[in-house]
């Protein structure tokens, strides 16, 4: 509790000084020379926001600089991302928490005004959250095969948390690959989508793991498959979709990833400082506990590999969006 008061006090004192000396030198001899700004392209409260604040908290202990979280929500993350892409002052001290919206946004928004791959440097993929294909507990379908067979006969509905979310796109991808009849039912966020699934109003959903994990454990929802490449350690008995082996589902590997990116002019020295600090953050107990809580795996890729991953993702979602008729 003291922490709030003392930090408020320090902030008040510090700010009096800060006013005079915010003219930062672009010369990044000893990066960071200023507060690091972590832009969250979503509103406060979502998974991205909570994760970013957790990361910012740990990062500033590793970096020896303040890490200030700044929410710039809008148009499924593209407003905040676009602002960073355009550059400007302080861009050498700004990082952004990118998520599937980064690549899907490129697929569904017209005239983005920036290139989701080339306009950024990719620092570190922080966590990967698998999506889970879940059906209500009283659903007649016990396996993915049974579900697909049924979906070829009659129309199925799947809930999602908003157009262009990874949940929505997973559903569209499933529909495309299996060539089944499925109708997307949109909700304003996972919170609103969940009751429809629990109450049996929709047939299936490809929800993020943390949203549904406790409901799977309590038996209110049945997990048919996870969407990651490997089985999740949180649901070891649930197969992956690629394990199913039929209906082209071997191509179905997707996760909700969250990673830090920066403007393409981000200094090289800063990149290495950041990457070092981030890998230290990812080893921290607190971070691993948090990932555990989300049912997430720590991210694997960084740097060029991360960039390649993004490029592949952009291409894939463009295809899916076109087939689903949601590209503009």
């Amino acid at each position: 509790m003291n922490k709030i008061l003392s930090s408020a006090y320090l902030a008040a004192c510090g700010s009096a000084l800060a006013l005079g000396l915010t003219v930062s030198s672009a010369n990044a001899n000893d990066w960071p020379t200023d507060d690091v700004r972590l832009v969250v392209p979503y509103a406060p409260g979502g998974t991205t926001d909570v994760l970013s604040r957790r990361v910012a908290d740990l990062l500033q202990q590793e970096l020896d600089a303040n890490v200030v979280v700044e929410n710039r929500p809008g148009a499924g993350s593209t407003v905040g991302t676009g602002r960073l892409a355009r550059g400007g002052r302080g861009v050498d001290h700004t990082i952004l928490m990118a998520s599937p919206g980064h690549t899907i946004g490129a697929a569904i928004y017209p005239d983005l005004g920036y290139d989701p791959v080339e306009d950024f440097v990719f620092l570190q993929n922080m966590i990967d959250i698998p999506n889970v294909m879940v059906v209500p507990a009283d659903s007649p379908y016990e396996s993915v095969i049974e579900f697909v067979e049924a979906a070829k006969e009659e129309n199925m509905t799947f809930s999602h948390s908003g157009v262009g979310s990874s949940i929505h796109m997973s559903g569209e991808l499933f529909k495309t690959l299996t060539e089944t009849n499925m109708t997307a039912v949109p909700f304003a966020g996972s919170g609103a989508a969940l009751p429809a699934l629990l109450g049996g109003d929709v047939d299936v959903s490809f929800e993020n793991m943390p949203t549904v994990l406790s409901h799977i454990r309590s038996g209110d929802l049945r997990a048919l498959a996870v969407t990651s490449a490997e089985r999740s350690e949180y649901l070891p008995d649930v197969p992956t979709l690629s394990e199913v082996g039929e209906y082209n589902l071997d191509q179905f590997v997707t996760t909700a990833w969250f990673g830090l990116v920066a403007h393409s002019s981000f200094p090289e020295e800063a990149q290495s400082v950041m990457q070092d600090a981030l890998s230290k953050v990812m080893e921290r107990e607190e971070f691993l506990d948090f990932a555990d809580q989300l049912g997430a795996e720590p991210g694997q890729v960084s740097g060029e590999e991360f960039k390649q991953f993004i490029a592949d993702e952009v291409e894939r979602w463009e295809g899916v969006a076109q087939q689903a008729g949601i590209s503009q």
Binding site: A12, S15, R37, G88, R89, G325
Partner: protein, 168 residues
Amino acid sequence: MTPSGSKRRVKVKDTNDLITGIVLLGFAIVLVFYLVPNYINEPPILQNPMMSPRWLPAIIGWLILLFSILLILQAFILEGKTEEDERAIEKGSTRRFVLMVLSLVIYVALFEAMGAVFCGILATLVLFIAHPVRTWWVYSLAFLFPIIVALLFVEVMNVPLPIMPFGF
């Protein structure tokens, strides 16, 4: 809100409503025939007309059209209410009003470029002069408040404002 006793000689009994009705009628026509068809895309396949993104906007447009006609008719039939009398104000000087508009313009035009503190001070000063405030020490508030509040937002609440001119 009581109907006024004053009778007017003109046929139009409530000019205010008449103008409002005409403006809204114009808006509704633009909405229904221009904005909705041009600025809302309809997906190629629709199972149900109610699913269309245009469905509700179009209905709203037609309803506004209907109500604006009713409003115009009402303006001819119903007495104007004392609303105007009640709201009738002693108009201040043009200078006062123009300076107020100027302060709004300062906020909109310069906020990003010149920073929150600068705009806050400038606009507050302009508004003080507009009134005009004659107590000299009050003008110090115009400097004090924007600085303190901006710092409160940025440093204590961690809500970023463009502090310095020409920021990100």
